[in-house]
Structures are given as C-alpha cells and as structure tokens.
Symmetry: C2
Amino acid sequence: MYDMRTTYGKLPKEVLEKTVFKWLGAKRKDVLLWPAYGEDAAVVDVPKRRLVIACDPITGSRKLLGWLSVHINANDVAVCGAKPAWFSSCILLPKNDEHLFASIVKQIHRAASELHVSVITGHSEVALHISEPIIIGTMIGIVEGNKYYMTRGAKPGDKILMTKTAAIEGTAILATDLSEALSSKIDKRLLKRASMFYRKISVVNEAIKIASTGLATAMHDPTEGGLLGGLYEMSEASGTGFIVYENAIPIARETKIICETLRCDPLKLISSGTLIASFRGNYKKIISALKRAGIKAAIIGEVVPKKYGRKVIRSEGTVESIKSTVTDELWRILSEHLLQKCGTN
Amino acid sequence: MYDMRTTYGKLPKEVLEKTVFKWLGAKRKDVLLWPAYGEDAAVVDVPKRRLVIACDPITGSRKLLGWLSVHINANDVAVCGAKPAWFSSCILLPKNDEHLFASIVKQIHRAASELHVSVITGHSEVALHISEPIIIGTMIGIVEGNKYYMTRGAKPGDKILMTKTAAIEGTAILATDLSEALSSKIDKRLLKRASMFYRKISVVNEAIKIASTGLATAMHDPTEGGLLGGLYEMSEASGTGFIVYENAIPIARETKIICETLRCDPLKLISSGTLIASFRGNYKKIISALKRAGIKAAIIGEVVPKKYGRKVIRSEGTVESIKSTVTDELWRILSEHLLQKCGTN
C-alpha cells in the first residue's frame, strides 16, 4: 500500500539534526530557546523596545532561495529603521530531497550570519500540492531608540534619495535565467558580473545608516514594479505625488546593456537592493554618512502634493505619468522568452 | 500575449483593502504600525519581557484553513506559557479567487479576535507551483512573568496530565473528510457532533491556566502521531521514558465509535486540542484550576528514566513500547480510503 506518511509530512529527526538544528545563523545571546526536536516555538529575551516584523515568501527553484529569503525579509525590517535580529522560516519541499534541503538551510545560515541574525524557529515538510520549493520567512528586528520609519511618511517638499543603482535584482535574474539567450548577444564577462548582482541585494546597512542621521521621513525598498513601482507605492501610502529625473537615476552598465538588449525599462524592473528614502534637511549629511559605509547614493527628485501627479522626466525630455501599480518588466520579458522558446522547439 | 502578471503575483490593492487591511483581529494598543498599502512590515511595542515565536503551515483545501492557522500557531506559543499576542500570515493561492481569499482572511480575523490577538503583517499572492491554498502562520506571544516552558523539561518522577480527550482533531477530520463513507455506518447526529470537534482545538486557555499554577515542568501539544506521538516527542526532547495507561486516557464517545468503525487507534490519531503536561506536586491544584475554567483533565501516567522505555499499558493488559516517531493513523486511513474509492470508480 502507498504510505503517504513516508512521502509527505515533517522531515525525519535525523535529517533535522544534521541541518536546521545545526545551522542557526549568528549565536545571539538573547535567544533563550533554540530549535530542537519536539520544541515547536522559540523564546527570545526582549529589552523594552519596539520590534518590527516582516513576512515574505520566496517561490521557485532559484539557486539562492534560502539566502534570498533572509535578505528580502531583512530589507523589509531595516527600512523601518530596525536591526534584523531573529529569523524563522517555513520550508516546503515538493519531494524528499535531502541535498536540496541542506543547501537551502545552509544558505539561510550563511545569510543570517552575515547580518548577525539568529534562526530561532521554523517548520520544514514535504508538502502536498506544490511542485517547487517554497520558503516563507519571518524576520523580527529591534528598533534602535524610539524612531521607526514607515513607507507612508513622505511629505511634499521632501527630497528623494536612492542608493546603489536601479534594477539590481532584475539584472541578476535576467542574467541568470536568460543567460543562454543573452550570451550570444552580450559579452560573457559582463553577463557573469551581472549575475553576481545578487550580492548587492541587502539594503540593511544603508537603511540603518540613513535612519541614524534622523533626516529621513520615509524609507522603502522597491521590489516588484522596480524603482518607479516603489516610488508609486511610497507616494500612494503617503498620499503625495512625486517627480523624478531619469538623468539623475544611477543605472549600472550591466543593467543598461541587458535592458537595451531585451528592450525593457530598467526603471520598471524588480529592484531589491535599491533603497529609496524621502528626507528633509541637509542631503550632504546623508550622502556622506552612506559614503563612509561604502554605499553610493543619489538625489533623484522630490515629493510633491498629490494633485501634481507622479511623474518621471525621461532623459529625452518627455514626461511620463505613473497612474497605478507598476507592472514589472520581468513578467513580460520572461513570458515573451518562454513563448519564443516554445515556438522554436 | 499571455500576461503572467495579471494571473500571478501580489493581490491588487482594491482586494487587500476589502480584506487583509480590514479584518485584523483584536485591536491591541501595542500595535504601532498596522498592515497598509506599501507597508511591508509591522511595528509592535514590547514591554521588557520574553517573547515566544512559532511558525506552522496549513496546507490543503480544508474549510477552516484560516481559522486553524491561527489556533495551531497559538497552541505552540501557549504551551511555552506565553499569551498569544500578534499573528502574521503568508497566504498563497493557486489562482485568483477573491471569494476564497476573503473567507480565509475572515476566518483568521475571527480566530484572532477570539484569542485577543492582532493580525500585524503578512503577505498574500497568487503563487506559481501550487495547486491548493497554503497558509503559513507566525504567532508571537508574551511570557507572563519570567517562566517559560519547554517540551524538554520533563523529569523522571513527574506525573503526566492531559486535557480534554484524545484525537480531537483527528475525530473532526475523519468525520468531515470521510462523512460520506461513515454516514452509512454511524448515526448522523453523532457524526455531526464529531465534525464540530474543531471547536475544541485551542489549548491556549488550559496552557495559561496550567502555567499559572507553577507546577508544570513541561507542556506540549500532541499533533501528528496523536497522544502517543506527543508523549514520544516530549520524552525524546527531555531524555526520559514514560508509562501511560490506556484505561486512564479520556476518549470521547464520538472518537471511540469513529475509530472502531475505521479500525484505527485513537491514541495515534492527530490530536491538536489535547494538551499534555508533566508536573510535580499536588495534582488536585492543577485539576481544580482547570475545572474552574471549564476544562476537564486527567492524570494518565508518569515520566520514568529513559532506560525504562516508553510504554503504554493497553486496557487489556498488554504492554506496547513506543520506539520511534509515531506514524499518524490519519495518513493510513485516508490513503486506504482513497485507494478504495479509486477501486470502486
């Protein structure tokens, strides 16, 4: 008889002991109860402070699944001005693949260690009804002092700053997933460099630095919908408009070339790794605080009253209005590529 | 062209505003940043205390998906002696079904309200690679005072107590999922009552009551593997053995009849809703504290040194040793039923 239990359900104790009970990120002293057999929860010691909690899934069979899950959730916590501290994950696998499981858990451990984050609880099972691994991460961060930041804090008159370059994550995804198609058109070394853009995906450092200046009014990390999507979300949450200048927006050479080749807009391409912040006061103070930490930043525009709309002034001088949630270019590019591939097979 | 974006990805703002931004459980004053458009995290205010965090998925198309997600995670937090306070969920849907989504979110709201828990952050999307809805819940609870409980705290000589009856969740699942097959063999009113056993699934009240007596050494809520599976986990985590008496274990009439009909062991049937605790001292103090809260409990055996093994003395006098993780009867019963159904079609 087919025994579902040997195929689905929680992973065996022996596997857990070699993986999730072993690779637990940083050894923070404030974790009182760590993951262990039979323990279904974690206990942490909290100073009288404010906590920030964020929860995001990573789906698909991407190589960096576990690593991304930590960083994406850490970003959401950091843009609130909190230092990521404790991470828990739910790992769902389509089939019992010990090697894949161990590699995911190791990635989580590595990313958590980088951020001085402990992995405190979680769940892992071979689940029915899924065909690819799914990781759902929850990150808890501690607010330094009393001030926390929200996406909704932008006010007309604030300047808008962005860190690093546009479309960091999108560049890495396209260079990796479409490497075959792109390698005939683009220099392979450039493509290799572009695929390493994943390394820039954390905005934790810059968020904490910006928070420490006390000048920001809102922070946000643009993901789906790219830089313009993130700006739309920030202005919609804040009840404002914005105006930004394409000329002022830093775009990496790798991103430019890949986007030109695929005819896609780097300002609408998934952009984890970039931080946007609205702020008042002396921008030099922020820029130099970031520079000391080795992070480049640029002033790309300003927050305006909602009635003035949400606009990007393109390099050629035309004005484009952003009137609703921005559809990410990634979906269009990947589905076009999928169709082409099906057509030629 | 097929636009993946209209089919997969985050749900639209309009849908979120009618659902996840509206039904947020209890209105706790310690929540500083609530779910809202563009906000990817929550902020909560924490007194100088200890927090307990638990994370579990609920998969499948079960009617009570959202409601179960809150209670199952609340149970894991409560058995550590913490009061559940804040819940976040990641809701993954196989297709865009607004009605299903709203019903899940309403269930979460209802369960959270019952427990005075606020829904503080989360994520919802139509996801690739899944064929049934999946909810991953994370619950954070606050430890009252300094003492928290672990599964691993049991010591030889402790008595073992259980609340309510065995196989509560399994009874509800079998009565619901096999109602067609069972209704020809069992009184329909009894089957109806059995399907309502879901209502007994929370162990939060009893866990908090038992914690308040200060007599418990460990608490655990048996889920997969049933009561005996839970006892195995507790003894394995504690490095002890146990001896329990089938005669002393309360089993509801509904459970008895369904298990006899399906020839399954109620002591190995999934048992959320039952709490097990090891304790020292005057059992009458615990039993009467529970009684005042309307919860029945029984002493079913004791913790022994590991070398004495893990044993259940069956009603007929035979001794059964539990030597490894208990395979839940549910998987066997459901797969047998599935095979029968396939055979007759």
